[in-house]
């Protein structure tokens, strides 16, 4: 199996397994069965957040969500953010273990730290990025992220 891809965020090397897919909003995705895909936060997102202490989802299994619809929120030591749906889909499962204790997001982001599962149609599946495509996206995203963080800290 191939080595994970590495993206340098300053001195921190974020790792991205080549066996899974990614989304522009810094989630990863993997097919679990049939049209069902599992989603989680990529190493890039977890590094930006650092130490997630609180995680909440507004969605429940059976809900049809649109792409970029607000679906929850996350809080860490350094930051907070709303979470948005990576693509359109039908929610089939959410990881309730994280509601009480989101530690798994920090320690096992590509495993037990998964967030939710959705049934996708082929159009939505087509919007998922290969590891290489995601690396390309990160090059631009990292520039923007640095500007945003500096702007908010100094502003």
């Amino acid at each position: 199996m191939s080595e994970p891809l590495i993206f340098m965020m300053g001195n921190f090397s974020a790792e991205f397994p080549q066996t899974i897919l990614y989304v522009k909003n810094h989630m990863w995705s993997v097919q679990t069965e049939g049209s069902v895909y599992r989603f989680g936060l990529s190493a890039y997102a977890v590094r930006l957040l650092q130490d997630v202490y609180f995680f909440d989802l507004n969605i429940e299994p059976g809900m049809q969500v649109k792409a970029k619809q607000e679906i929850g929120s996350i809080e860490s030591k350094k930051a907070e953010s709303s979470l948005y749906s990576p693509v359109a889909g039908l929610v089939s499962q959410i990881n309730r273990n994280l509601l009480d204790d989101p530690t798994a997001i920090n320690v096992d982001k590509y495993g037990d730290g998964w967030l939710f599962e959705m049934q996708l149609d082929t159009e939505a599946v087509g919007q998922l990025l290969s590891p290489d495509q995601y690396m390309e996206h990160l090059n631009q995203a990292w520039e923007v992220a640095q500007r945003t963080i500096k702007g908010q800290v100094n502003g």
Binding site: Y53, F54, K68, G72, A79, E80, S82
Partner: protein, 367 residues
């Protein structure tokens, strides 16, 4: 058991942040050492049900109360109020640094007097509930000092009502001197003489110091809370919400009747409230979560980086869109933007009738 002079309630946050947990514990432990003060540690007060053990316990407390929570003070006050833990809003001096100044508050109070507010028509009991936002400081001592200040005020109030206690103390003590009586250890050196018999007598009137913890594990909830010091009972919210959250009581006063019908994450009704009386304590926008004014988030907001859409909608359009999103999620039809009568009137002037035209003509005559 005699009631405490003051009960300190520490509402634990939902976050696992160890710094937050440590602060909660430190405040509870230190406050339990203040004479006349009892401490109750409870789960997050917003998640608890009306019938929960915690609220049964809180409803039984008669005297003044200090409530620490990871919520804006206004949000905490009205969450308690809806659970029948009621009182007057106690003035808290320890507030987050970016709260508005006192001057503006006075102006706001004047503004609130121009209409009939539900809380004026239906006054709350004559005791104080002081809600303190745990985000106001990172220093536990700052919180403890605020509790001591409030305890002294409560003691002064008790003395006014119980002149026989004053006889034990010479003259009329100020809150400050009373605080020294109540809390001799903090204000004098350790080798100071033991507390006077007069002070000891005051303590004997109150229950012994106590630190209790209510062990409950509520699941997370999401529902609106009405600030009845602002609400005018205009019924915009009950007209707008299509999920049956709102109702009216026997006195035709608006209430959040079915809180758990509310759609998680949806704050739309708060946007249509003309008095900004509807609070969603957990919403990320400070103004909706009960902040005194619109202000910057306390932390960096990374939403834009994680895909927040850019919009230029007005509040009514946002509210209608949010409501449509929830209707669709619930498998129902979207209804779009339907403006209620009073909102429509505010948006658009009625067309001129004949009388208006006549008056216009009279005005234009140079008499």
């Amino acid at each position: 058991m005699a009631d405490s002079l003051l009960t300190v309630v520490v509402s634990q946050g939902q976050s696992r942040n160890p710094e937050k947990r440590d602060l909660e514990k430190a405040i509870a432990d230190i406050c339990a050492q203040i004479p006349g003060v009892s401490v109750v540690v409870i789960p997050h007060l917003y998640d608890l049900a009306y019938d929960s053990e915690t609220y049964q316990k809180l409803r039984a407390i008669q005297g003044d109360m200090v409530v620490f929570a990871w919520l804006y003070d206004r949000a905490a006050h009205w969450v308690l109020d809806r659970n029948a833990v009621r009182g007057q809003v106690g003035e808290v001096l320890l507030v987050p640094a970016d709260y508005q100044s006192d001057e503006d508050e006075d102006e706001e109070e004047e503004e609130l007097n121009d209409k009939d507010r539900v809380a004026n028509l239906n006054p709350r009991p004559d005791r104080f509930v002081y809600c303190i936002d745990l985000r106001a400081s990172e220093d536990k001592e700052a919180f403890v000092q605020e509790v001591k200040r409030i305890a002294a005020n409560s003691a002064a109030k008790v003395l006014q009502n119980r002149p026989e206690i004053s006889q034990w103390i010479e003259g009329t003590p100020t809150p400050e001197s009373l605080l020294r009586y109540l809390n001799p250890v903090s204000s004098v050196q350790a080798d100071a003489p033991p507390q006077t018999s007069a002070a000891a007598s005051i303590y004997s009137l109150f229950g012994a110091n106590e630190l209790t913890k209510v062990e409950e594990h509520p699941t997370r909830r999401w529902y609106p809370v009405i600030d009845f010091s602002r609400c005018t009972n205009c019924m915009e919210c009950i007209d707008f919400c299509l999920f049956g959250v709102y109702g009216v009581d026997t006195a035709e006063t608006i209430l959040v009747e079915q809180p758990d019908n509310c759609r998680k994450g949806c704050p739309a009704c708060s946007r249509v409230c003309p008095e900004n009386a509807i609070i969603f304590p957990q919403h990320k926008t400070p103004a909706i979560a009960g902040a005194p004014v619109e202000m910057g988030g306390l932390k960096i907001d990374l939403s834009k980086l994680f895909g927040a859409p850019e919009t230029d909608e007005d509040a009514m359009q946002v509210a209608a869109r949010e409501r449509d999103e929830q209707l669709i999620l619930a498998g129902r039809q979207a209804v779009g933007e339907v403006r209620s009568k009073s909102n429509a009137a505010a948006q658009k002037e009625r067309p001129k009738d004949e009388l208006d035209n006549l008056l216009d003509q009279l005005d234009s005559l140079d008499l």
